[in-house]
Symmetry: C2
Subunit: 644 residues, 2 copies
């Protein structure tokens, strides 16, 4: 590394300051060159944050030769658009060469994307959407606190960004959990895209943090000693309160004609102005030479692979619910989670399983887990956006993280937070209860009928919907042990144990859940009902009705919706017509997936789709199902129509 | 009405207080009976908010015989779960009978759902998801301010609810726009589902509001004179600052064994405890009689129809872009919006068209509108959740409201706010720019590839994706004049004018946009490419490549994705194989809709779907399309494979 600063120093030495000035000059050049070369990007904020970044990487623990060294402090750039500044500084500290950065910046297939991503050595988190980095940082700080680790966490934010509401959720959380290993640094340049922050959306940022229990240090964000003193306080903070460093800065700092100009937030310099700026910095203008280099194929040497360092945990002993049992899947989830805690969060050892809920611990059945593993249970309050974001981060710090709340809050409301977790290859287990019309009387605002329609858009989430408590138990154990992002949804009501034709639990002792494998609950030759989740019992009833009438229908439980069991669908298609039944929007769920699978395989099987075809009412689930044609009688009727 | 309070009074009279006590007793009975009868619901908060509601409806302007009287003040219950309290009070003030309420509460098909909905006379807004009512209230207050109307707006919130981040966005907005016609009342009972607010997620609520520039009055929420004095201040507030009334209350107030018990947040009394409570209130126990009545069919007499009182606006004169024009659809949107402003926001008259943006006015091309109609343009800052919620409300107050930002912010991030607008039959026009891989270098966090996959889940939103500036112009004029919720999406890049085979603008002077009607840009007999939006030009190029090779392929522009033109799809299917091409997740967009339509109509046409099959990179759109097999050459190749 070019520069290291000792925490024991009272202040920076003159040599260090001189060196920082030289570093700044080199980095400013890279910022301006990279954005002008890409003809896009964000030079203004990169220059205002630059001094903070330069001092920070000289003080925090990190290792450019081992970017994912466990002992490192974490520095999250929530303002992901200042990538030119971040890459410039990481190049300065030896994470990669300047050439790789300038040749590749914002080019398809390079390792230097427009917003910071973890494919870049030294970058901790893919960011871009504002206001979310702090939840990531809080998640990491929470993990370290709980694990008794001394890693420190920093989050660099913009001042405009501080208008995002999610930040207030994260601030409250960090205060509640006394995360003094966490510091936020705000690049307070008073400018956002449309003008001054005072004009666009005024607020006294420091006072808001203070009101929410944070310590606040106000510094000059271009004074190296000011930055040093504040970061030293941050690295030594043991006050119980998280720290805000409010750094007064200048947008476009260091280039005379860029300073305090909002337009440079997101506009690079033209080649002509770049020439002036480089001259001001004392550099030759080598723009043309770089342009030529960028005509050649991308030559990035190091693209960091996705994280895979997730803890392996024990699945514990499956719980078998006998056919007399009548509980809801939520309770089976709660029991499985407790069992996972017993197997993996052992007395005197650091827990490996974490749980997060949002003022719904009882409803989502996390009470047993909470009681068993109080240090690994995090009550985030009615702050779902923060909780979901924090969950992703927590899951990357040696914790298999279960995030549970109602479906509308776990999916419909925080879809974008899950999306960002997905970009980051997290290890998050979103277990949503209260999905579908099965929510009942709480009515349409609380009926999540889009869980699959939404989660389908995320490339790395699997989606599983158990049919009964036994299957719930196995699926929960599966997702705990399988790395990556998983979504599991379940209704609210008690639901019978699915049985074989001879009355044994279908998901019995020999059952293991396998993603992408559907289960033939019943075989039949005239048609197939494909279903999942809360309406499975109604489909089984319909099977009985039809069976009594001499109609032979198969029932296929598609609990694994992503990945989908296309083989089973084709098998069904080869037998006869297909009816899909789901407690979900009828246009965006299983029915849509089956239609695509059929046509992908060239099948013209008659297909009818039953599901939710208008917003639900407030009433008992059975009434709501009947109301939307998904009760057993309607299902049987639909099968008969299909058979013709 | 039972009670009216004169704003000129210094304080309440003894008679009024006596009357309020009697009203409270009757309402408390209804709250307890209704929830015990439904065996679900939220009695605790209903009792803590009760006194506030009773005094408020005695003071605000409203007319039970004309619930949607234009001159009324607006009272938004953001805590939608206190429906028993709201319905009890509305019954007291004569909006409907107690019998209708108690007989129907939480029954399918009744007019009395579990969370407050506008089907109930006197209810202003469907709520349920917490933290959103304030954005609704802000939107209404903003409309009245701009329209120079003296209606006042109130928003009743819970204290736990105040953990939601969106609230801080709304607070900042109300402060910036000096909405002193808006007051928030917080039912500060210090309890939420999982315990005390101090334990679950502590915060000094009053200090937070004060830091954000609000006035705060602290009162006893069960003292009628305290409530009166505070509401009087609210109704007469002209300070320029919005007002918070922080009302100290007791959960379960008035029933000895329910007071300060968190469990009664969401649990009704058992029949036994109900008997005790009714006795405490001095009532006979008529639970059994009501139970019997509830065995009969629902007999709600009045279910309010959806709002339809939207202003009719002029479409203005279409702008024709000639074939030499090369602009982006965003600019055509901006031009159309300005033209709509010129036609409808006339000098000296109240504007009928409003615009909201989130620090992206220039990028979303709202600059012309802003300049023309400064009083009708609202800059919401980087606060998309609030902006989307407020937009829905604004659109219900005589303003055709355009909400514009990038796709990821307008859809992926605020899906749930749009969902709530949809419940409320709003008149919102969400026009999202920067959708798809067409966003380019800003990379995956900024590439909205799920706009259709998400919006499809909302039953009342249409979805239109124009193919060129001419079609953009007509679609924007269409959505301005057509009541209801519309989504329009467009990419970032400049895009050529679509032409007929003889080189004229395809969407020329004679074109009128019709929802549910697709356009055959080219006819062909061997196969059909169905596409829309930013990749239409690539499909036209592919048509040329194929045409040159003697392959006759049709190109169908499906700009209206919801509603879908199924006739055109069937027409294509009857001709030959179909290829769908879209700048969207390949599993959740047009391809899925076409697959369902084909099978719904019993067609086994070969179908191939091209689209985004993994998260996009950071690079130029053309590179990204090639990278994901959506450039002209790949499209032509896919057609040839399909034909075989």
């Amino acid at each position: 590394m070019t520069l290291t600063i000792d925490l024991q120093q009272e202040s920076l030495t003159q040599d260090q300051i001189t060196e920082l000035r030289e570093m700044r000059r080199r980095c400013a050049r890279r910022i301006l060159l990279s954005t002008s070369l890409a003809a896009s990007g964000h030079p203004g904020g990169s220059l205002s944050s630059l001094d903070i970044l330069l001092v920070a990487y000289g003080m925090i623990r990190h290792d450019p030769s081992n970017p994912r060294w466990e002992g490192r402090d974490r520095f999250i750039e929530s303002i992901g658009h200042i990538s030119p500044g971040v890459y410039a500084v990481l190049a300065e500290y030896g994470y990669f060469t300047e050439e790789d950065f300038l040749q590749g910046f914002r080019r398809t297939g390079s390792g230097f994307p427009g917003h910071v991503e973890t494919i870049v050595p030294g970058v901790e988190w893919d960011t871009g959407n504002l206001g979310q980095g702090i939840s990531t940082a809080v998640g990491m700080a929470q993990a370290f606190k709980m694990q008794d680790k001394n890693n420190r966490v920093f989050c660099l934010m913009g001042d405009g960004e501080n208008q995002k509401g999610q930040i207030s959720e994260a601030l409250r959380y960090a205060h509640k959990y006394r995360l003094d290993n966490l510091s936020v640094i705000i690049d307070r340049n008073h400018l956002q895209i449309c003008g001054s922050t005072e004009e666009v959306m005024p607020q006294p940022i420091g006072r808001v943090y203070e009101a929410l229990g944070w310590q606040v240090l106000r510094i000059d964000g271009h004074d190296y000693n000011d930055i040093f003193t504040a970061l030293k306080a941050a690295l030594q903070n043991d006050s119980g309160a998280p720290l805000l460093i409010l750094a007064a800065t200048v947008m476009g700092k260091g280039i005379s004609f860029m300073e305090n100009k909002a337009k440079y937030h997101g506009s690079p310099l033209s080649p002509e102005l770049l020439a002036d700026a480089l001259a001001e910095l004392g550099y030759e203008n080598d723009f043309a030479a770089w342009q030529k280099l960028r005509k050649e194929p991308v030559r990035t040497r190091t693209i960091m692979p996705p994280r895979t360092d997730y803890p392996s945990v024990q699945p514990g002993d499956p719980i078998l619910y006998d056919t007399e049992t009548l509980i809801d899947n939520r309770s089976a989830y709660g029991n499985a989670l407790l069992s996972l805690a017993e197997a993996n969060n052992r007395e005197g050892e650091t827990p490996l399983i974490a749980g997060i809920s949002c003022d719904l611990e009882g409803s989502v059945k996390m009470g047993g887990f909470h009681k068993h593993s109080p240090s690994a249970f995090f009550e985030a309050g009615i702050q779902e956006h923060h909780a979901a974001g924090m969950g992703g981060a927590l899951s990357c710090e040696n914790l298999v993280t279960f995030f549970s709340t109602f479906g509308v809050f776990a999916v419909s409301e925080v879809y974008n937070q899950n999306r960002l977790s997905d970009f980051n290859h997290t290890n998050l287990k979103v277990v949503a209860t209260h999905v579908g019309l099965d929510v009942g009387e709480d009515g349409p605002t609380h009926q999540c009928i889009d869980y699959l329609g939404l989660m389908k858009n995320l490339f790395r989430f699997s989606v599983f919907m158990p049919a009964d408590p036994n299957q719930t138990d196995r699926i929960i154990r599966y997702i705990a042990t399988a790395a990556g992002n998983h979504f599991v949804g379940m209704g609210r009501s008690k639901t019978p144990i699915i049985t074989t034709e001879d009355g044994q639990p279908f998901y019995g002792t020999n059952y293991t859940f396998t993603p992408g494998r559907a289960d033939w609950l019943r075989r039949g030759s005239d048609a197939t009902i494909i279903t999942y989740g809360a309406v499975t019992p109604a489909c089984m009833e319909a099977w009985q009705i039809l069976s009594d009438e001499g109609v032979s229908v198969g029932v296929l439980n598609m609990a694994s919706l992503i990945p989908l069991d296309e083989d089973a669908i084709i098998e069904a298609a080869d037998q006869g017509p297909i009816l899909t039944v789901e407690d979900h929007h009828v246009e965006t769920g299983l029915g849509a997936s089956v239609a695509m699978a059929l046509l992908d395989w060239g099948k013209s099987t008659p297909l009818k789709r039953l599901g939710v075809s208008r917003y639900g009412a407030s009433g008992k689930p059975a009434e709501l199902y009947a109301d939307q044609g998904m009760d057993a009688a309607s299902i049987a009727e639909a099968v008969k129509e299909l058979i013709g």
